[in-house]
Amino acid sequence: MAQKGRTTFKEDICKGCGLCVSVCPVKIIALEEIEINRKGYHPAGIKEMEKCIACQNCALICPDLVITVEKL
């Protein structure tokens, strides 16, 4: 699948709730397993950016405005 989007996370303000993980249709978002951010949470992030389709689901459901989405 060709990369269509780029999604960036402000990791330091993420509360690690995982809602974004649950709504990603291409299953590329995951919570950091070891590292914690300054708030003490395991922040969300994308491992395989090339699979992002810029659907914005993650940004729409994020309660903390962590996510910015760009379309390529």
Binding site: K15, C17, V23, Q56, P63, D64, L65, E70
Partner: protein
């Protein structure tokens, strides 16, 4: 490369105090985005309640008043009558609006007060630690309903939107949910329509938003969305209860 989603300028840079996964943050964002898209942020006076969203005055990037518990519609009435040319909204939870503030919300609607209300229904008192709300579901446990809500002694959960829709002065009444991206998009459309009803001088408008409380429900944020869908939506059906034809 174009940015298709970024932080709205309708919110301040302050990080919210909401628990992880609490959908208040989503609802704040939708309201703020609509204020920006309608280009009314600089002409808005918001009124926040007592409850989890008591600190909303720190988050919305517009003039704000913090109201006593349940009184936001009365405070908004005062502000709107002084500034009829400004946009005035209240942001209230279920304890605030459906319990202690029933008189104020009913009569703001009854007067056809040209204000807009965002009513966040998560079926529990969040800020005070999970006590029963008028909207708590039958069988749902709360710290003040430790054996679950019982119809016989606590009554059935109150459906505010249905009740308010019977009032002539209420011109826009819709219930939405923020449990899925699709529903979040619908919620935003409803909020925009509701705000337009005020801008067009038609009367009172309210959007009830079904919301989660992972902390006090004792569920993970993701489980909470599922619980909302499976338990709240059947009792609190989504949809528009009232809308002026022009807005349709």
């Amino acid at each position: 490369m174009t940015v298709v989603f970024e932080r709205t300028t309708g919110l301040t840079e302050v990080e919210t105090h909401y628990c992880p996964g609490c959908t208040h943050g989503i609802i704040h964002r939708l309201v703020a985005e609509v204020l920006v898209e309608l280009d009314i942020l600089d002409d808005t006076i918001g009124v926040c309640p007592v409850g989890c969203s008591v600190l909303a005055y720190k988050y919305f990037n517009c003039d704000m008043q913090q109201a006593a518990h349940g009184r936001a519609p009365a405070v908004a009435t005062g502000a709107k009558r002084v500034h009829p040319d400004k946009f005035v909204f209240t942001y209230q939870g279920d304890g605030d609006l459906a319990s202690i503030g029933t008189a104020e919300i009913v009569h703001a609607a009854h007067r056809g007060e040209k204000i807009s209300t965002i009513f966040v229904n998560n079926a529990i008192y969040g800020m005070t630690g999970g006590q029963m709300a008028p909207t708590t579901l039958i069988g749902q446990k709360a710290t003040t309903a430790p054996y679950g809500r019982d119809e016989e002694t606590m009554g059935m959960p109150l459906r505010m939107s249905e009740m308010l829709a019977t009032i002539d002065g209420a011109k826009f009444v819709e219930r939405v949910s923020v449990d899925t991206p699709a529903n979040i998009r619908k919620a935003k459309r409803a909020i925009k329509k509701c705000f337009q009803v005020q801008l067009e001088g038609k009367g009172f408008g309210i959007v009830e938003v079904l919301s989660t409380c992972p902390t006090n429900w004792g569920l993970t944020p993701v489980e909470s969305l599922k619980w909302l869908k499976e338990n709240m939506i059947p009792y609190y059906p989504l949809g528009n209860f009232k809308s002026p034809e022009e807005v349709e």
